[in-house]
Amino acid sequence: MTKKIFIGSDVDGLEFKNHIKAFLYQKGYSVNDLTENIKADFVTSSNLVAKAVLKHGGQGILIDEYGMGSFMVANRHKGIICAALSDEHSARMTREHNNTSIITLGSGVVGKRIAEQIVMRFVTSDYAGGRHQIRIDMLNKLC
């Protein structure tokens, strides 16, 4: 599959990130791990993934203990719409309605089976466009 998926985590999310990465490989996706060899905090990991998505397109996945620090940082990038997720319904809706390019998962919040379901919905759902685009244009005019 050609879809570009960038992944990153802080130190707290490292083991969880490796699980998600292995899961995506198993499903046939190639994953670019941007924090493979560094001990990052969530500011660093989120900046790396947000910049990669802005430059290369594709989708990003960020992991820290609660997913909230990464959410705050990723959304500070103009043109990035980042969703913090812990359930499958929000995963599907945010891709379809919000044209989300990055998701965050909290390694201390969501279990691995649910996280796998969230990730699959995120990478397989498509943005619906149409009336939703006005909201995306509005978000993208903000930072």
């Binding site: 500070r76 929000s90 989300t100 919040v109 006005i134 978000l139 903000l142 930072c143």
Partner: protein
């Protein structure tokens, strides 16, 4: 406390319920809308509610849309705001204690009223606990937004004009 609240048209009744809940708890509420079920756009209300917090007119903001994500993304792009999407009590407490979150978003089609009220109770009772590490992370988050859009009352007008012209039609 003074609390700004906002929502999109999907969950107006939930915002209205929370408004009364907060008033009953003794808080003052600034309700930035929306006020009815007529189709509108969540970034308008996420921005308005967050800006009331950024300008210190409100102490915290509480916002709602279907999943919380759209409206909370809008809030998180406002200078001076640290907004969290929450659907459990522990995350809300963490967001306040560690990241000094000043806005929380909840999904009216994801969370029930019992959970929403519980999250609000514990979020409002939590306190930021500063450490050197938290302080540095928060400073880095804050410095990422330079622009202040709060005085631009027609910030979204170009898109609303295009909406009126029918530029944003769903494919049938």
């Amino acid at each position: 406390m003074i609390i700004s609240i906002g929502c999109d048209h999907i969950v107006t009744e939930i915002k209205d319920h929370v408004k009364q809940y907060l008033i009953d708890l003794g808080h003052s509420v600034i309700d930035v809308g929306t006020y009815d079920k007529i189709r509108t756009h969540y970034p308008i209300y996420g921005k308005l509610a967050a800006e009331r917090v950024a300008t210190k007119e409100a102490d915290v903001g509480i916002i709602f849309c279907g999943t919380a994500i759209g409206i909370t993304v809008a809030a998180s792009k406002i200078k001076g705001v640290r907004a969290a999407v929450v659907k459990d009590v522990q995350t809300a407490k963490y967001a306040k204690k560690t990241l000094n979150a000043n806005v929380i978003g909840m999904g009216g089609r994801v969370c029930g009223i019992g959970l929403i009220e519980h999250i609000i109770d514990e979020f409002l009772n939590a306190h930021y606990q500063e450490t050197e590490e938290n302080k540095k992370l928060i400073q880095q988050i804050d410095e990422m937004v330079k622009e202040d859009y709060s005085q631009d009352k027609g910030f979204f007008d170009e898109y609303l004009a295009r909406w009126e012209q029918g530029d944003y039609k769903d494919e049938s």
